[in-house]
């Protein structure tokens, strides 16, 4: 068992290798990428990053992505909170069916919804807006949020609710003053997961946007086909899409295991 640590170590090495390669490429010039094979940049350059930060067609993608992801996280968490409370504390007509139905939307292939979403949001004039993408992502993020929050809430003893009501708290006041602080970490984890799934999704975001709300991931795929493959800039754009995720993980690192178990450990 002394060599047990080798297994995770090898696995992490395997995980980081392709990411290292991307970072490595983003710091090279295109000449170096194409003409020679080097394990680290011989001629270190930040020109690729400069292109992204100075060209509006690049950096606007990051801004668009950030906007719709934040709106989606906000909607998902606010709507899911009372629903998750209801599922964890009360039993009511159709609760189990409703819970499974919500889950099925998490399972629905986005490919099925791409075209109808396009028509739906075009017909109500929301096409190519951030709110359209944020609402579309609610399809899978809202059920996920309800699921995770329900898991966390079921871990809070019911006595807390009862004591508060005996003390004369009204439900809204109890919820905001007592319950929410109790599941603060659960809310953080939920927000993290909504962020994650909205941030990584491409198909719906690409289908629902044209110019004004185009996410960075869609801009990347377009650039691959259009400008004759500028590998260095593409790699730099890729590295920059990894950064927000890496930053967010840092904040939830202590709760991440429980979060990945959707609050059920």
């Amino acid at each position: 068992m002394r060599w047990k640590w080798l297994i995770p170590a090898i696995y992490i090495f395997f995980l980081l290798l392709p990411i290292y390669w991307l970072v490595n490429m983003s710091l090279k010039t295109n000449d170096e990428i194409l003409s020679m094979f080097t394990l680290w940049p011989q001629d270190l350059t930040f020109a690729n990053y400069k292109v992204i930060f100075t060209d509006a067609s690049w950096y606007s993608g990051y801004i668009n992505s950030m906007i719709y992801v934040s709106v989606n996280v906000l909607i998902s968490v606010c709507f899911a909170l009372p629903a998750a409370y209801a599922f964890s504390r009360y039993s009511f007509v159709g609760d189990k069916h409703l819970f499974f139905w919500l889950l099925t939307n998490r399972m629905a292939p986005p490919a099925v919804f791409a075209l109808p979403f396009f028509q739906l949001y075009s017909s109500i004039g929301l096409f190519d807006t951030h709110i359209a993408v944020a609402l579309a992502h609610c399809l899978f993020n809202l059920p996920l949020a309800v699921w995770i929050l329900e898991g966390f809430m079921s871990g809070i003893p019911k006595e807390i609710d009862e004591t508060a009501f005996v003390d004369g708290y009204s439900w809204p006041r109890f919820f905001v003053k007592i319950f929410i602080p109790n599941i603060a970490s659960g809310i953080g984890v939920t927000a993290f997961f909504c962020f994650m799934f909205s941030w990584v999704e491409l198909l719906l975001a690409r289908t629902l946007t044209a110019v004004h709300a185009k996410p960075i991931s869609a801009i990347m795929t377009r650039t691959v086909s259009a400008s004759g493959l500028d590998w260095g800039v593409l790699a730099a754009a890729g590295v920059l899409t990894i950064l927000p995720g890496a930053l967010v993980i840092y904040f939830v690192r202590n709760h991440i295991a429980k979060g990945f178990a959707l609050g059920r450990v």
């Binding site: 640590w5 504390r89 009360y90 109808p116 979403f117 990584v200 590998w231 993980i249 059920r264």
Partner: protein, 294 residues
Amino acid sequence: MIQKQVNQKAWFMVLPVFLLVAFSAVIPLMTVVNYSFQDTFGSNQFFWVGMDWFRDLMHSERFHDAFLRQIAFSSIILAIEIPLGIAIALAMPRKGWGVPVCLISMSLPLLIPWNVVGTIWQIFGRVDIGLLGHSLASMGIDYNYTQDPIAAWITIIVMDVWHWTSLVVLLSYAGLCSIPDAYYQAAKIDGASRIAVFRYIQLPKMQGVLLIAVLLRFMDSFMIYTEPFVITGGGPGNSTTFMSIDLVKMAVGQFDLGPAAAMSLVYFLIILLLSWIFYTVMSNVGEESKNGGA
């Protein structure tokens, strides 16, 4: 488990979620159902064709192939990722500086946008500029994922293992961490073997989280779209055209609304059915072990 109070007013708390999800799920789904029974000559003129699209679909070679590829892909993914994930979780440190290092670096791939995951592996596997492709080529292995179907499959599977095994690891790890030390001490006193500890203590405790892991991995691998689309575009030939890729090709590329809608519905029903089976089987297993084991 908390004893739940019956309260029909709880519906009001669920209502906002219900309405929003219904808006984003039911209305589009109705459009799909609508198209699946009609044909069009363009210019918004539709006429009723009944079950024709479904009949075509059931006899379509293309659909069968995509479906079989999809099943094969999902089975391979589950067969590799679940055992591998459990093994890594068992070997992970329980305390000390190794824990945050493992957790953070392992969750990194999960937070990379899916098309960037595709791009990373596209670059990584290229013979001219990628580390993997270049190394394999210099070892004399003939590897080209754009021309060789087997190489394309291996690339996509390795990519998916790279991308998603961490999810299984983190879930299993969370399950393992919830086992009280007393269990292990009792097992030690009884002289239980390593395998017995795994079989009777660790595995039952991980059951709940493994259900989530299997469900999530199955569903997500079954609707995989972006990564193979970026890496191979469904090729070479049609060898990596999975169901989502086929569907998007049909709906957006060729604009065959009717057949695409019929396929969407069948696709959705298959996922629903399989997930329901998984859900029921795994939760029954959970109930039994609770009743029998306790």
